[in-house]
Amino acid sequence: MNRVPPRPNRPVYLDNQATTRCDPRVLAVMLPWFSEQYGNPHSVEHVMGTAAETAAEEARAHVAALIGAEPREVVFTSGATESNNIAIKGAARHALRSGSDRRRIITVATEHKCVMESVADLKADGFEPMFLPVRPDGLLDPETLRDALAVPTLLVSIMTVNNETGVVQDIPALAAIAKAAGALFHTDAAQGVGKVPIDVTAWKVDLLSLSSHKIYGPKGVGALFVRRRPRVRLVPLFSGGGQERGLRSGTLPAPLVIGLGEACRLAQAEMADEAKRIADLRTRLLDRLHTELPEVRVNATMTARIPGNLNLTFPTVTAAELMARTPDLCVSTGSACSSAEVEPSYVLTALGLPPDEAARTLRIGIGRFTSAADVDFAAAALAAAHAGRPMHAVTQA
């Protein structure tokens, strides 16, 4: 084990699909808006309010630019979960009010829980939720969608990038099929924004959700793209002061919004270089791991996948045991929200993994602040843990 690097000073964080470190550059841009320029951005009657409003609008433009939208098509929310709830329930409730007779709502078996639950909840309102299967490689077969659309469908919601496998769906093709059938198209792009190029105009999606803390921005803010031409109408989840053009009431958290804007600006400027760097790190990690443990299997396609993700099934040791044996390594068994659950991941089940294999599967998320030393440590630590060697064998080598 002469290749094993020294023990790191702090845990090696390879769970960048659960959340990311707030980029120090983002933090620097946010800070003045907490203590010096603290006005309420809706207090447009005085200069402290208008200063915050102007900065928030600049942030809106950065978000819009990253996804190819117009600024006024961007609605700020508390995060992607709320964006998904507003998009799905809001579109369905508007359809009820406007007398539309389309009742089918289609989504995919590997969606984030908040999308699955929002869709499932609508059954109580008289809608027909439908959850499409995916292929073993994690991708949705376009023909499966086409078949499902034989019944008049109100809304199709398919995530851009899966949170556990990193699989990138072919959203432009899927959106085109849905649009041709007269359905609205929503995509949860929380894991895709800033990782893969997104263009809502070229993709022709109607609604798109994104999150700040998945792209090195602060927690507590996200956005929903709502197409204006042709206009997509939604019923808000809750109302009040009528902020965000009535779609999302509540004081805009100006510093968080400004942080999201900066995170988007940085993502746009650095995405291409960053993707290459992260992809190289992933290759390095996988190569090292395969040298030690050739039987480790990567789940889902490696071609349509974000550069930072690996979803690995280990030969004999469970993921929970591997994590227990590597306290200096932050990885996960799947979605953070369900981390504490003992049930096998429904995403892996949908890919066809039997429960025992799902239990031996880890998600690794490489990110902006991951170094080569970090991935070297991770590969060595996981190999040692799998072999049952104690951590000091790694750290003292």
């Binding site: 964080y13 769970d15 659960a18 959340t19 990311t20 470190r21 707030c22 907490f34 203590s35 603290y38 006005g39 309420n40 809706h42 207090s43 447009v44 009657e45 005085h46 200069v47 402290m48 309010g49 929310t77 508390s78 995060g79 979960t81 709320e82 709830n85 984030h112 829980k113 908040c114 639950e117 929002s118 803390h213 602060p218 927690k219 507590g220 803010v221 989840l237 809750f238 109302s239 009040g240 002061g241 009528g242 009431s249 509540g250 004081t251 958290p253 100006a254 510093p255 968080l256 994590m323 306290p327 200096d328 932050c330 990885v331 996960s332 979605s335 953070a336 929200c337 369900s338 981390s339």
Partner: protein, 409 residues
């Protein structure tokens, strides 16, 4: 710039800033099981304990939200039970915040008097009506301290009426929290909506604190099962840390835990105690007393021809609502802004709209409802702010009233 618009948002307290900055260094997602996740979870759970203790509830009954608009919406969604079979009839005070009004547009309205205080006899009648017309009990929503006038409602009395009639009481405590002691159990209410940025914490966090008997609620925002299934989405860890630090600042708890027998007596005296304590809270900050500064501002304005709206009611010490007869509120606000004073014409959320205040209209103030500005002192207000106001307000009043004169003639 002299910032006298604290009810729109309070300046961030230094302790809140420090707590938030420390939490920004914690990378993990609080739902993750690894070390980084557990560190983030500790931040959230410790904030939950602090906030629950501060506001008279149990940690497990506190649900973090994105802010008070969402907390109010969640309370009315969950306790009013939407359109479901357990739906309750909703009764709103006439001076509630728009986030409450919008969540129950068909609610019965409880009138207030000329000072903005809810009429408890009318509440008793509405509750009887609810029983007569509707087999189910009611959900009553009252704002503890009004955002425009600072008027305090008799919550403990209202809570007793509600409990007697099987009704639930939701209290929007956004403006009261951090300014006067607020204690859910002592008030006897069923839920409290709280906002971080209105008590000197960062924007982007709020909470709904529930009484134990109603704490198993259904989510408005569904998701990954966070907040015991009551609010999906990754919680805003740094904002929550700042929220708790701000709330913990300088506020002694109103009441110690007590047994059920003594609770009743304590509740009766609670409203009076709140009013009495309102003026004393700021002593702990070793800054000028808010009520003293506010009274000075009112003397200046009254001498220049203003009327104080709701001035005879028990009020928050930091808030005054000043009507200048014949002069539109937006003109006053703009003139003061140009003179370096930041105030507002009512709620910040409706800034830029030309509608007059529904709060002042409900108080029967007629045309004055469109002619009143809100002056709200932040926690760090000083005598220099009052001096600046003393220079600017009479100048503004004289100029705008002179501009009116030809039209009046």
């Amino acid at each position: 710039m002299h910032y006298l618009d604290a009810n729109a948002t309070e300046p961030l307290r230094p302790t809140a800033r420090a707590a938030m900055l420390a939490a920004l260094e914690v990378t993990g997602n609080p739902s993750s099981v690894h070390g980084a996740g557990r560190a983030a979870r500790r931040v959230v759970e410790s904030a939950r304990v602090t906030l629950a203790a501060q506001f008279g509830g149990r940690p497990e009954d506190l649900v973090f939200t994105s802010g008070a608009t969402e907390a109010n919406a969640l309370a009315i969604h969950a306790l009013g039970a939407g359109d479901g079979p357990r739906r309750r009839r909703v009764i709103l005070g006439a001076t509630e915040h728009d986030s409450v009004r919008a969540a129950a547009p068909d609610a019965a309205v409880l009138q207030v008097d000329r000072q903005g205080v809810a009429d408890l006899e009318a509440l008793a009648e509405l509750l009887s009506d609810a029983l007569a017309n509707d087999p189910g009990p009611a959900l009553v929503c009252l704002i503890l301290a009004n955002n425009e006038t600072g008027t305090l409602q008799p919550i403990t009395e209202a809570a007793k009426l509600c409990r007697h009639r099987g009704a639930w009481l939701h209290v929007d405590a956004v403006q009261a929290a951090g300014r006067i002691p607020v204690d859910l159990a002592a008030l006897g209410a069923h839920s409290l909506a709280l906002s971080s940025h209105k008590l000197g914490g960062p924007m982007g966090a709020g909470a709904l604190l529930l009484a134990p008997e109603v704490s198993a609620i259904t989510a408005l925002i569904r998701g990954g099962g966070q907040e015991r299934g009551r609010r999906g989405g990754t919680p805003p860890v740094p904002a929550i840390a700042g929220f708790a630090a701000a709330a913990a600042f300088g506020l002694p708890r109103l009441t110690e835990p007590r047994d059920a027998e003594t609770q009743h007596d304590a509740a009766t005296s609670c409203d009076a105690e709140i009013a009495h304590n309102a003026a004393t809270i700021r002593d702990a900050d070793s800054l000028p007393d808010a009520a003293t500064l506010r009274d000075a501002i009112e003397r200046i304005a009254v001498n220049a021809g203003a009327l104080v709206c709701g001035g005879a009611a028990p009020r928050l010490a930091n808030t005054t609502c000043l009507a200048l007869p014949g002069v539109r509120a937006d003109a006053q606000v703009i003139a003061l802004d140009l003179d370096g004073i930041a105030v507002s014409a009512g709620a910040a959320c409706s800034s830029g709209k030309v509608t007059s205040s529904h709060v002042l209209a409900a108080m029967g103030l007629g045309a004055l409802a469109g002619e009143a500005i809100r002056v709200s002192l932040p926690w760090n207000a000083t005598a220099a702010d009052v001096d600046a106001f003393a220079a600017a307000y009479p100048r503004m009043a004289a100029r705008l009233r002179a501009a009116l004169a030809p039209r009046a003639a």
